[in-house]
């Protein structure tokens, strides 16, 4: 073990990462250290971060990465592993709420890029990617979350418009969003009656209320209500009643990113725990010299290493055009269980000082559940995997 333990100490050498990834990691780390790290605690306590961060993150390239150049994005020379580096480095902040709201377009925009019209892409993507506008994904409802096929928000065609009624729940970035990529029911029951509709937040009949959460305080999570909202038919994303597949495809990319973020948060817990264990003395020796503590640390490393290996193989397959649905689902479970374990053990090692507000482990501890539930709960993920495996 190195004399000084940090975020990178135990990362396995990756056959998939080259100089380009290392360089991106180094520069992104400088960005996070300068523009975000000093304020993480303050933003979390205040329940939000300044809007100018979107602009800075866009100029730096963070918001634009992975989107086509013609819409102001940066895609040439980038692959899935740059995305993994991004999720992991943002996790170093130890304030997932900041990342969740800052990068919320990462789930709101892809359906438009995948199945939206060219006119819609040109209208929506550039101002989102340059940090002026925000777009949230609105799928979950009070009565349907992972059970997407049962959503009840209704969009009824009326000439050139849809009239939308219903509500959405737990919408990340919902308070500051300008647009919602919204799942609505345009047809009959089940998955074949669902469409994706782009709804502007300032349309008459749209109201929203902020929601208080266990963690992710810096993220503006909202409940959204639609009351006879008139939406132009041209705002339909893709074809009518074909929205389900767009939603499901979006989940796969989201799960890879969430797994990388959860692994990054687990690494933060490991880093904080080891540094404390090497410094803090109890019963005449360092914490790290007590066998019970050493074993906790080894176990954290073991689980993180397993997650990294699984993650990179999944990313490599996605990179090669595969959609390993079952593995992406189980990867997310692997990553969030690792996070849960590492947050627990780091908190045990840090003891009372870890329980005090204002440190990364304490914030991450409050974020374990949103990672284990959001983007598909562990239970749903396992069941999805089992179905995919034909069990």
């Amino acid at each position: 073990m190195a004399a000084q333990f940090d975020f990178d100490t135990t990362r396995l050498p990756s056959p998939f990462m080259n100089d380009s990834h290392h360089h991106w990691r180094a520069e992104l780390r400088k960005f996070v250290e300068k523009e975000m790290m000093p304020y993480a605690d303050e933003w979390d306590e205040a329940g939000g971060f300044p809007e100018e961060l979107y602009k800075k993150a866009s100029e730096f390239g963070l918001l634009r990465m992975g989107y086509p150049e013609q819409y102001g994005g940066i895609s040439e020379g980038l692959d899935r592993f740059h995305g993994i580096v991004t999720s992991e480095e943002l996790a170093r902040l130890g304030a997932g709420g900041v990342t969740a709201s800052l990068m919320v377009h990462g789930i709101g925009l892809p359906p438009i890029m995948a199945i939206g019209s060219d006119e819609m892409k040109e209208r929506i993507a550039p101002p989102v990617l340059n940090g002026d506008k925000r777009i949230s994904l609105a799928i979950t409802e009070p009565g349907a979350g992972s059970d997407v096929a049962n959503i009840s928000t209704k969009a009824v065609r009326d000439g050139d418009h849809y009239i939308v009624n219903g509500s959405k729940m737990f919408i990340t970035g919902g308070m500051r969003a300008h647009h919602f990529t919204t799942a609505v029911r345009t047809g009959g029951e089940g998955m074949r009656g669902i469409s994706l509709l782009l709804i502007d937040a300032d349309a008459p009949g749209v109201t929203r209320t902020p929601l208080k959460k266990m963690g992710w305080w810096a993220s503006d999570t909202a409940a959204i209500y639609f009351d006879d909202v008139k939406v132009p038919a041209s705002n339909l994303i893709g074809e009518e009643n074909q929205g389900f597949i767009g939603i499901v495809n979006n989940f796969n990319g989201e799960r890879l990113g969430m797994a990388a973020g959860a692994m990054g948060s687990a690494r933060v817990c490991l880093e904080e725990a080891v540094n404390w264990a090497q410094e803090r003395k109890t019963f005449g020796k360092r914490l790290g010299d007590h066998q019970v503590i050493r074993h906790k640390i080894a176990e954290m490393v073991r689980q993180i290493n397993a997650t990294q290996a699984y993650l990179e193989i999944c990313a490599w397959r996605v990179q090669n055009g595969e959609t390993p649905v079952a593995d992406l689902a189980m990867l997310k479970v692997q990553a969030t269980l690792t996070l849960e374990f590492c947050a627990r053990e780091a908190m045990q090692i840090l003891g009372g000082s870890g329980y005090m507000r204002g440190n990364r482990v304490e914030r991450i501890y409050r974020e374990v559940r949103v990672n284990a539930i959001g983007g598909g709960s562990e239970e749903i993920m396992r069941d999805l995997a089992a179905r995919q495996l034909g069990i």
């Binding site: 000084q4 991106w24 390239g61």
Partner: protein, 249 residues
């Protein structure tokens, strides 16, 4: 105006240095390396001169192993235009580096060379001064501010008594101090652009420079561990302990 900036690949400033078990040097295996922080400041200054319309081209040069190319890429992403890697796996002492840089300067004919005042690995603080002497150019060391006016550079230097501003004629060598500027992070578009910027690879022999070390490192050792102190009860006891230790008469 053309600016030349030498950059060195060193152990990252965050890494806690460890001495090799055979005392032949410090541990470099699997240790995070990055650009010498003072060189980052030099690159930043050159880029600012370019942004201000004073510099037209920035060339970065590094003497070191193949991996020093990554260090050059970092500088290119910050805004430098092209790079030169003088590849060698040998130890190169400040005089060897200065001679190589002199050869590069004769070829490139820069108006200004901004050198980090020292590298954080050996902390020699020699290369810039040696380079200026070898070239016969003016030098402005430990710069906290550089103002370019025509062929003159006003360099504010950090000295023991405070700040001193000198005016030197270019071509000149300036060494950068910590407070010259705060280096930027390179944006993703610039990282991608840097991949396409040219890097020439050379070897010390191409410049006809002999880099054989003049010094021999005999032993590298950890500083002695500080011994635990004792608590004294009274002033009298303190005085007697100090006398015992031979610190006071």
């Amino acid at each position: 105006m053309k600016v030349l900036v030498p950059v060195k690949r060193v152990v990252d400033y965050n890494v806690k240095i460890r001495v090799k078990s055979d005392q032949s040097g410090v541990e470099l295996a699997n240790v995070k390396m990055s650009m010498n922080p003072f060189d980052e400041i030099s690159v930043e200054e050159a880029v600012r001169l370019k942004e201000a319309g004073k510099a037209t081209e920035i060339v970065v040069v590094s003497v070191g192993p193949q991996q020093a190319q990554e260090t050059i890429r970092t500088a290119l992403a910050m805004g430098a235009d092209r790079g030169i890697l003088i590849k060698t796996d040998d130890t190169v002492e400040p005089l060897g580096v200065a001679k190589l840089l002199k050869a590069v300067a004769e070829e490139e004919k820069p108006d200004l060379i901004i050198v980090g005042k020292q590298a954080i690995d050996d902390d020699c603080n020699q290369t810039g001064q040696m380079l200026s002497a070898l070239l016969g150019w003016s030098q402005g060391t430990f710069a906290s501010k550089i103002d370019i006016e025509g062929d003159k550079a006003a360099v504010t230097r950090e000295i023991d008594g405070g700040l001193q501003t000198i005016k030197i004629t270019m071509p000149a060598v300036v060494t950068s101090d910590l407070r010259l500027n705060e280096p930027r992070y390179a944006s993703l578009p610039n990282i991608m652009k840097a991949k396409k910027k040219p890097i020439d690879t050379k070897e010390p022999g191409d410049y006809g420079v002999d880099i054989t070390p003049r010094l021999e490192v005999q032993k590298v050792a950890e500083p002695p561990q500080r011994e635990a102190g004792i608590k004294v009860e009274t002033v009298g006891e303190l005085v007697s302990k100090l006398k015992e230790a031979g610190v006071i008469g």
